[in-house]
Amino acid sequence: MEYTPQFSVVWNNLSLFWQGLVLTLQIVVVAISIGLILGILGALGRTSENRVLNGIAIAYVEFFRNTPFLIQLFFFFFGLPGLGIRMSSWQAAVLALSINFGAYATEIVRAGIEGIDKGQVEAGKALGFKPMQVFRHVVLIPALGNIYPALVSQVVIAVLFSSVVSQISAEELTFAGNYLQSRTFRSFEIYLAISVIYIGLVWFIKLVAFLIQRQFFAFTRYIR
């Protein structure tokens, strides 16, 4: 039997795809914001002298980096109600994505903190910079510049991972695709269109990230 792709199913449902994209962005933006805070806290724990804090941070990072996101998601959504913690699928999705992102962000931020040379701080002081100026120009901005590429890749991974939350029926782009697929059976056209939207989104993020890097972190070319 010959199968003829009919992309009208895509053109007729553009608003559905658009809604899905907006929901995906919402989930990702909230999750990355929470995840970044977790990552900074985790990095502070990882670099602290306190053994307990250090141990907790290591356990957090290793556990969440060495188990699949899908299992983490199922654990939060299906497992935690067993302890009396109930969440909507959206909350579970955001929570799982945040905690997962936080674990990777911890390692990235830690590398940034450890990458700052002590001698640079001393040099800054010797040049007569005030403490706040040293922190801003010698510590914070170079550290951000150093971790920026890794952080951008992690954001892209978070966008791609967000498609998995469709499996607990959290509404986003992939969920919209599954919904439409179950009604029209035009699986090839729909999943191809959704893939193209993800590719567009990821390339857009990479482009914006590149422009930001060129604008604010151009100096990283010289300190490497």
Partner: protein, 217 residues
Amino acid sequence: MQDFTLANILANLLIATRWTIALSAIAFFGGGIVGFIIMLMRISPNPIIRTISLIYVEIFEATPLLMQLFLVFFGISVLLGLNLSAWAAATIALTTYSSAFLADIWRGSVEAVPRGQWEASRALGLPYIKQLKRIILPQAVRMSIPSTVGFAVQVVKGTSLASVIGFIELTRSASSISNVTFQPFLVYSMAALIYFCLCFPLSLWSKHLEKKFSYEG
């Protein structure tokens, strides 16, 4: 009806773990072979071949693995009229996924080999293939091993998504068992622990190799 004890659950999960390991191994080696070819294309002197491989990598790195699975399992089978099994679809999708990332990792290692090595071997009159085989790749392989092992962790974790299209591996089996026993907390914790036992040694090994090579280098 059969009653599930803790040992029962663990035994069933471990049986399913075999398929997680098998799928990971196939995807990793299949991805390695395809990825190697893509990597060779990426460093090719021919700009057209370079662009094609660049597009391949950029497309597969920019789509969710879940979407690749859906496209192969539902999409391609409808389009080509093939009745792909979940096993075949998962293998294809995970292989292409791995190949894109491995190609990118290995290209990075090849480009990290100092330019002078190319020039010196060329000056010695080695043809391109021999330059690659004798001079460049042996050095690049050393550098790429830590990240390659690290990526194996991503492949093992990635196989959990094959559960979504009905391939029975660890995650799928955990879902079924938790549906029968009504103990999702326990079952998913155990599944997570099994994944951890598979992935953590690989992560440690990767970190160890990274340290070892960076001291020697």
